[in-house]
C-alpha cells in the first residue's frame, strides 16, 4: 500500500517529536558532563577553558569517599535483607493462604504510597521516642522498608512464571519439601532473585530523602554528602562526581539489561 502525503507528515512529525523527548531525557546528563570540565569555578556555556581539576577535587573531598563507603555498605546489607524478606514474603503470598495475608501485604506495599520523607520522619521519631541509638542500622532499616515492595514484585513475577510441574514431579518421586526448595525452586528462581537484588541495591544506593532524616555525621550516605556539598559550594566538583555517579549506575543498568532484558523485568514486552 502506498503511503499518502498525510501519512508521511504524520510519520515525520512523530519522529521529530520522539527525538525531542529523548533529547529532553538525556539533556541534563550531557549538560552536567560539559559543566564538569569547566575550568573556572563559575559555570559558563560554552566553557571558556577546560580542565579536569574538579574530578581531582571530587576524589580528594573526604565526605564523598566516606559517603560512598557508607552507601555501598548500606546498599549491600539493605538489599540482602530486603531480598531475604521480600523473596520469603513473595513465596508465601503467591502460594499460601494464611491469616492477615492481605493486611500484611497492604502494610509492606504501603511505602509505594507513603512518601519517603514520611517514612524517614517516622523512623527518626521512633528511634528518638524508644531511645534507640541512631546508627548504620537505622539507615539500613529505612532502606529495607523503601525497597522491599520492588523486590517482592520482582520475585512474585518470577514465581508466577515458574513451571510448577518440576516441583510436583520431584515431590511425587519422594523428595522432601526442603530438597525440592533447594534443588528445584531456588535454581529456577535464581535469575529473578539476582535481578531483584540488584534492583534493590540500585534503589537503595540512590535513596536520598528518607536518608536525610536518619543519617548522622558517621552514617552520611553519598547522596546526602552531595546534597550537603551543593548547599555549601557552587563549584563544578559536584558536576564531576555526578558524571561518575551516573556512569557507574548506567554501566550497572546495561549489565542488568544484557543479562535479564529489562523489557521482561518490567513486563512491557
Amino acid at each position: 500500500m502506498k503511503k499518502s502525503l498525510a501519512d508521511h507528515l504524520l510519520d515525520w512529525s512523530g519522529r521529530i517529536f520522539l527525538t525531542a523527548i529523548l533529547g529532553f531525557l538525556v539533556l541534563p546528563f550531557f549538560v552536567v558532563a560539559i559543566a564538569s570540565f569547566n575550568k573556572g569555578a563559575i559555570l559558563s556555556f560554552p566553557p571558556e577553558a577546560w580542565s579536569v581539576q574538579w574530578y581531582v577535587n571530587a576524589f580528594e573531598y573526604r565526605d564523598f569517599g566516606a559517603g560512598l563507603r557508607n552507601s555501598l555498605r548500606i546498599a549491600a546489607i539493605g538489599a540482602g535483607i530486603a531480598l531475604i524478606a521480600g523473596a520469603g514474603f513473595a513465596f508465601v503470598f503467591q502460594r499460601y493462604e494464611f491469616r492477615f495475608k492481605s493486611g500484611l501485604n497492604a502494610i509492606l506495599m504501603s511505602p509505594l504510597i507513603i512518601p519517603n520523607f514520611t517514612i524517614g520522619l517516622g523512623i527518626l521519631i521512633l528511634t528518638a521516642s524508644a531511645s534507640l541509638p541512631r546508627n548504620l542500622w537505622t539507615v539500613v532499616t529505612v532502606h529495607v522498608i523503601i525497597v522491599l515492595p520492588f523486590v517482592v514484585r520482582s520475585v512474585y513475577v518470577s514465581l508466577q512464571n515458574l513451571e510448577r510441574n518440576y516441583e510436583n514431579a520431584a515431590e511425587s518421586l519422594g523428595a522432601s519439601p526442603a530438597y525440592v526448595l533447594l534443588t528445584i525452586t531456588a535454581p529456577l528462581l535464581l535469575p529473578g532473585l539476582i535481578a531483584g537484588g540488584i534492583f534493590a541495591a540500585i534503589l537503595s544506593f540512590n535513596e536520598f530523602t528518607a536518608s536525610l532524616y536518619v543519617v548522622n555525621r558517621g552514617t552520611t550516605t553519598l547522596p546526602v554528602a552531595m546534597y550537603n556539598y551543593v548547599r555549601e559550594y557552587a563549584d563544578p566538583t559536584l558536576a564531576a562526581i555526578s558524571v561518575m555517579y551516573a556512569l557507574a549506575v548506567a554501566v550497572l543498568l546495561l549489565v542488568l539489561h544484557r543479562i535479564f532484558r529489562l523489557e521482561r523485568v518490567l513486563n512491557v514486552e
Partner: protein, 283 residues
C-alpha cells in the same frame, strides 16, 4: 488444612519489617498529638494544637503548591510519555525498542541529587538553556526558571517520565492488535484507529500512570527543595524545614500526616471521577 511448608520461616522476616513500619507510623501519629517544647527534642503533653496551627496561610500555600505541582507534572508527563511509550511498543526493530526503554529509564537511575543538580545547571540564569537562548538572540535577558514553579515542573516531569512510560508501555503492549487491524480493514485511518481503538483500550494504563505520577510528585523532596530554593514551598520541603530548622517534630509529624491524608483524598477523588466518567461513556 493444606500443606504449607516454610510458611513461618519465610513470612517472619517480612512480619518483623511490617511491625517496624507500623510502629514508625504509630510514632508519627503519637507525636502529632504532642505539644512542642521549645529548645527540647522531647515532646510535651497531649494537644490538638499542631493541627490547628496548620490552618496558617504558609501551610495552606504549601498544600496548594504540592497539588498544583502534582497536577501539572502528571499532565505533562502523560502528554510526553504516551507518544514515547507508543513509539517504544510499536518500534519495528528490537534495538530501537531497547534504546527507547533505556533512555526513558535514565532519569530514574541517575538518582535524585545528580538529576536535580543537573537541572540546576540547565535552568540557572547563567545556565545552559539561558546561555543558548541568549546566544541565539531569542531573548535579551535570562529567563528565571530557578526558584519558580515552571522550573520545578520541568524537573519533576523529567523525574516522573520513566514510571509513566513504563506503565503506559505495559498497558499498550497488552492491547490486541487485531482490534486495530479490524478497524483499519473497515476503512478507518490511522488517526481514527488511534483515537477510537488504541487510546480507549489503554485508558486503564493512563489512569494508573496518572495516579503514580501524582504520588511520586507528592513525595518528591530534592527537586522542589533545590530548584525551588525556598521560593516554592511544598508539603515535603515544609516538613523538613519545620523538623530540622525549628526542631518542632510534633508539628512536622502532624504536617506529614495531614499531607498524606490530603494526597490520599485527592487520589480517591480522582479515581471516583474517572469511574463516573467511564460509566457515563458506557451509555
Amino acid at each position: 488444612m493444606s500443606k504449607r511448608p516454610f510458611l513461618g520461616w519465610f513470612a517472619s522476616p517480612s512480619i518483623l519489617i511490617a511491625f517496624g513500619l507500623t510502629a514508625s507510623f504509630l510514632a508519627i501519629i503519637q507525636y502529632s498529638l504532642r505539644a512542642h517544647v521549645p529548645g527540647s527534642l522531647d515532646p510535651g503533653g497531649f494537644t490538638f494544637d499542631n493541627f490547628t496551627t496548620l490552618w496558617h496561610l504558609a501551610y495552606g500555600r504549601a498544600f496548594m503548591n504540592s497539588l498544583l505541582l502534582c497536577i501539572w507534572t502528571a499532565v505533562f508527563a502523560l502528554l510526553i510519555g504516551y507518544p514515547l511509550a507508543y513509539a517504544m511498543i510499536r518500534a519495528r526493530s528490537g534495538l530501537l525498542r531497547s534504546a527507547i526503554l533505556l533512555i526513558s529509564l535514565t532519569p530514574l537511575f541517575m538518582g535524585e541529587i545528580v538529576r536535580t543538580y543537573s537541572w540546576m545547571i540547565v535552568l540557572g540564569n547563567r545556565g545552559f538553556l539561558n546561555s543558548v537562548l541568549l546566544k541565539l538572540g531569542l531573548i535579551d535577558s535570562p529567563i528565571g526558571f530557578m526558584f519558580t514553579m515552571t522550573g520545578v515542573v520541568i524537573a519533576l516531569v523529567h523525574f516522573t517520565l520513566p514510571i509513566v512510560v513504563v506503565m503506559l508501555a505495559a498497558a499498550l503492549s497488552h492491547i490486541d492488535r487485531n482490534l486495530e487491524r479490524a478497524a483499519t480493514s473497515l476503512g478507518a485511518g490511522r488517526v481514527r484507529v488511534f483515537f477510537t481503538v488504541t487510546l480507549p483500550l489503554s485508558m486503564p494504563g493512563v489512569v494508573a500512570a496518572t495516579s503514580t505520577a501524582f504520588a511520586w510528585t507528592f513525595s518528591a523532596f530534592a527537586t522542589p527543595q533545590m530548584i525551588g530554593g525556598g521560593q516554592v514551598s511544598t508539603i515535603s520541603t515544609m516538613v523538613y524545614q519545620v523538623g530540622f530548622a525549628s526542631f518542632n517534630f510534633p508539628l512536622a509529624a502532624s504536617l506529614s500526616l495531614t499531607g498524606l491524608l490530603f494526597a490520599i483524598a485527592v487520589l480517591a477523588l480522582f479515581n471516583t471521577g474517572i469511574r463516573r466518567l467511564e460509566k457515563y461513556g458506557a451509555h
